[in-house]
Structures are given as C-alpha cells and as structure tokens.
Amino acid sequence: MKNLLDKKARQKYEEKAMLWVMRFSTLLIIITLCLILLTILKKGIGSLSWEIISKTPKGGYYFGKDGGILNAIMGSVYLATGATLLAFIIGLPVTIFMNTCMKRDKRTLYAVRFILDVLTGIPSIVYGAFGFIIMIALHVHASLLCGILVVSIIILPVMIRSMDEAINTVPQGLQESSLSLGITSVAYGYKVLCRQCLPAIVTAVLLAFGRAIGDAASVLFTTGFTDNLPQNITEPAATLPLAIFFQLSSPIPEVQHRAYAAATILTMIILITSIMTRVTGKSCNKNAIKE
C-alpha cells in the first residue's frame, strides 16, 4: 500500500515539474515573438522618416546620401498584388473543382491534396531557380512579370489548400439539396460554396498576400532590382525583402539604418495583413447557411 502511495506521489511531482517545463516553453515562444518585434521596431522606428517612404534612391544613395525606398515599397506591392490576383483566378476554380466534381473520387482527391502539399513544401529558392531556367529558355530578362508568375506559382498551393480545408468541411447535404433544385455542380460551387465559405476564402487570399510580399529567394532570380519605380510589368522591379538584404550588407551605418526602416515597414505590412485576416475571418460570414 505504501509503495502504491509513493508511486502516486512521485507521479504527482513529475506532473507538476513537467507542467512548469511546458508553461516555460510556451512562454518562451511568446517572449521570442515579442523580442523579434521589439528589436525590429526599436531599431526601425528611429530610422523611419517621411523621406524614406516617399522618395526613390537618388545619386549616392548607397553611400548614405539622399533618397528612400519608395521603389521597393511600390515594387513589392505590385508584385504581391499581381501574384495574389493571378493565384486567386487559378486557385478558386481549382478548389471548387476539387470540392464539387471530384468530390466522389476520394482516391484521386487524396493524390491531388498530397501533390499540393508537396508543392507547398518545395523551397522558394528552387521555384526561383526553375523560373530562371524557363527565363533562359525563353530568352527573357528579369522583370516584374516574371516575378509575378513565379510568386503566384509559389503561393498557389498555399492558397488552394487553405481554401480547401474550409470548403471540405461543408456538409455533403448542401450539394445534394442544391443539385436537386436543378443547378449544375459548377454553379453550385460558385454560387453556394463561395458564399458559404467567404471568410475562409478571404483568409486564404490574405495569407497568400503575406507570403507573396515576404518572399525573397525566388524574387532574387526573377524580378531583379532597380532604383526606379516600375513603369511597366516588363521592367525589373525592386522589392522590399531584397532592399533590406542589400542595404543590411552595406558597411555604411546610414544605409544599414535604412534596412532597419525597410524591415519595420515590411513587418508592419505583415502585422496589418495578419490582423485583417483575424477580423475578416469573423465578419464575412453573414451569407453562410448555419446548421
């Protein structure tokens, strides 16, 4: 009997100790995020100025003279918006197709999801290298258009899987009752499913946008870098991640400070996107049919 009690007591202590370890690890993760944000913002806010946001680099910019990173901000916004739009135009129909016409074919659907997951896992630098191969084969130079195409391929599987997770949970009965009223599968997909899953679709689009604006490795190969504002999608364009990367590697303190400012801007954009994801996810479901 005593032995058993001992065992119980020992387990109790073990649980208590483990609980503290677990609390500590969770806390550590939260602290890390706070540290990252604090470090970036503290360094960046000081260097942030109207000039940096509103001007393109002038002569001698990379030696600490006048100018800003408007070229990179605009380039990134164009690139991410273009890529997200393109991915949406392709991604939404594919998701709907997977969830209406292919719904019965469980095996194929599983294979499709598997390949999409594998595509999500391919590093963006490999996509960049692949894009570069295609560009060499077609004899085209780095441009905003190439960047948009490659980035949209990168975010496409992310977007599809994110929408798919939500649409997949819609009860089968909704499709059956819709079809019994005489509409086609495709019409059901666009008119009923989309409305039902609007919050998830918005979330997926914002998630993809965040991914697109932060991606640097693929853009390196395909979009190039320039000090001018992009006038045309066939010209190269600067992007924020690359602007940060190039300026941080400079030995001149003024230029490095601009990298911190650029990192702050990028972080802000990501934070705003993330907050928007949370807000819209809750507020766009007024058209959904509830059980």
Binding site: Q11, K12, E14, E15, M18, L19, M22, S25, T26, L28, I29, I30, T32, L33, L35, I36, T39, I40, K43, I90, P93, V94, F97, M98, I115, D117, G121, I122, P123, I125, Y127, A129, F130, F132, I133, I153, L156, I160, T184, V186, A187, Y190, G210, I213, G214, D215, A216, A217, L220, L240, P241, F245, Y260, L266, T267, I270, T273, S274, T277, R278
Partner: protein, 297 residues
C-alpha cells in the same frame, strides 16, 4: 432554352479552365525536377560536380558539394534540437492543460511568427542572435570570432520552424479521440501518466512526421540563414565556425553564374540536390501522417 444553352457553354469553359490548371499543378513537381536535371546535365556528364567532393573552386571547374550539404545538415540538426522539445512540450500544454484564454493569446502569436518574412528574421538574427552567439563563443572558447556561425543559423532556423511544427502538432493532438484520455483516467491513472503512456504513444507517428516536415522546411530556408551563417565554403569544424548551406550557395552566386563556364549548371545541380532532400523528408512525413490519420480513424 437559350439560357440553358448558355449555362452549358459557360459550364464547359469553366470546367475546362479548372481541369487545365489542376493538371498543370499536378505535373509541376515533375517539370521542376526534369528542368533542373536538364540544366545540370553538363556538370553531371563531365563528372566535375561531385556530391562528396570537398573542394569548391568554380574558376577551375571543381564543384564539390560536401561542404554545403554538411553545413545544411548541421544547421538543420541544431534547429531541430532546439525546436522539437519546445514544440512538443508547448503543444501538450496548449492542448491538454491550458485554459482557453491562454490558447486565445498563443494562437495569434503562432500565426504572426509563421507570417514574418524570412528576411525580417534575418535582420533580427544580425541584430540580436549574432552578437549573442559571439559572446557565447567568447565565454566557452575564449577566442573571438564574429558570431556569424552555424550555431546562429541554427537558432534562427529553430525560431522559424517552431510555429510551423507547433501548428501541425496542435492540429494532431486536437484530432485525437477524447476516449483515449477517458480510458486512461477511468483506470485510475493520473492525467500526466495518461498523456505520457497513452496519448504520446498513440501520437508518436504524427509527432515524428511533424518533425520531418520541420526538417524539410528548415532545409530550404534561404535568406535568414544566409544572413547569419557566415558563408565560407569549407566543412565547418565546430558549431561556432561559419558554414555555407545549399540554399545560401544558390542565392549568393546567382549574379556570377553566367560568367564562369559550367557555374550555372553546378548551381542548378545544387538546387536539384536541395529539392530531392526536401522532397524525401516532405513526402515521407506526409505518407506517415496519412497512415497515422487512418490509424486514429
């Protein structure tokens, strides 16, 4: 009648569009692999590029990938050693012990951490981790060093894959049937004992696959690691030595790759090696997840 015909045409067009892109997406992995093999053929053919070769001298046509593969392995292993225990213990806490208010705080934190771009992690690494590692190095070995090292890369990678692994783990723990816990508790075992002996045992394949996915993610990370790892093409002798992972090699040299003969082929081969390693881990983990999901019904 007219309207139904229009619907039919519209339906055909949109189904065509859907099918076309679906097929393109399904073929994409194969296309990427074939493209990379095709472009790296020149160095594979002549035997100038070797996976186990130690020396990297592009100008004299020697392309040995060993330093890069070893560096990649080192940073990934360090990242895993740091991240995996944290993720597992935090995951158990959040799923089985934490109040819902705690989860409400932690979930956004995970989401934001997952969304922070690689470059921003890199800036943080240069500002915070590199000096930290430099001090640590001073403390342990007494020799200076810059702090740009394998260890710094490993720490950054750990922070980057934590939200990724934790998200998968949370999903996995949540999917476990509640009856498992109930069965343990009803037999008189404590909560911790139940978790340790029943839940973790049941979830083990899932946990392994989550970590495998973390590995595949860590292997391909480019910018952040490249900014802190030092980039010296030599097999690193210790964790405070600089290294040169595969993705950094590709990203750093894209500018010069057309100026030296065969250089571009060698870099494409680096991308190919990277892709194959990532795919092995990724697909292996996903297949494991599939069997695991089947086993818990």
């Amino acid at each position: 009648m007219n309207s139904s015909r229009r619907t039919k045409i519209l339906e055909r067009i949109s189904t065509g569009w859907m099918k076309f892109w679906l097929v393109v997406l399904m073929l994409l992995p194969i296309l990427i692999i074939l493209g990379l093999i095709f472009r790296s053929m020149p160095v594979i053919h002549t035997g100038d590029a070797t996976i186990f070769g130690l020396s990297w001298r592009p100008s004299s046509g020697e392309f040995g990938f060993a330093p890069f593969i070893v560096s990649s392995l080192y940073v990934t292993i360090i990242a895993l050693i740091l991240a995996a225990p944290l993720c597992i213990s935090s995951g158990i806490f959040l799923c089985f012990y934490a109040k819902s208010s705690v989860i409400k705080i932690v979930q956004p934190v995970i989401d934001i951490l997952a969304g922070i771009p690689s470059v921003v992690y890199g800036v943080w690494g240069v500002l915070a981790i590199v000096p930290f590692v430099q001090n640590l190095n001073n403390l342990f070995t007494g020799s200076g060093g810059t702090g740009y090292s394998i260890f710094a890369g490993g720490i950054i990678l750990a922070v980057m894959i934590i939200p990724y692994i934790l998200n998968i783990l949370l999903e996995l723990f949540m999917a476990l049937p509640i009856q498992l816990q109930e069965a343990g508790l009803s037999l008189g075992a404590g909560k911790w004992y139940t978790i340790k002996r029943i839940i973790l045992k049941k979830a083990m394949p899932g946990i392994i696959s989550a970590i495998g996915l973390g590995v595949s993610r860590a292997f391909g990370e480019t910018m952040a690691v490249m900014m802190v790892v030092g980039n010296v093409a030599k097999i690193p002798e210790g964790i405070f030595q600089p290294g040169y992972p595969l993705p950094a090699l590709i990203a750093n040299n894209y500018g010069e790759m057309m100026s030296i003969p065969q250089y571009d082929a060698a870099l494409m081969m680096a991308a190919l090696i990277l892709l194959i390693i990532v795919l092995v881990f990724n697909m292996g983990s996903r297949i494991l997840t599939y069997h695991y999901e089947k086993s818990i019904g």
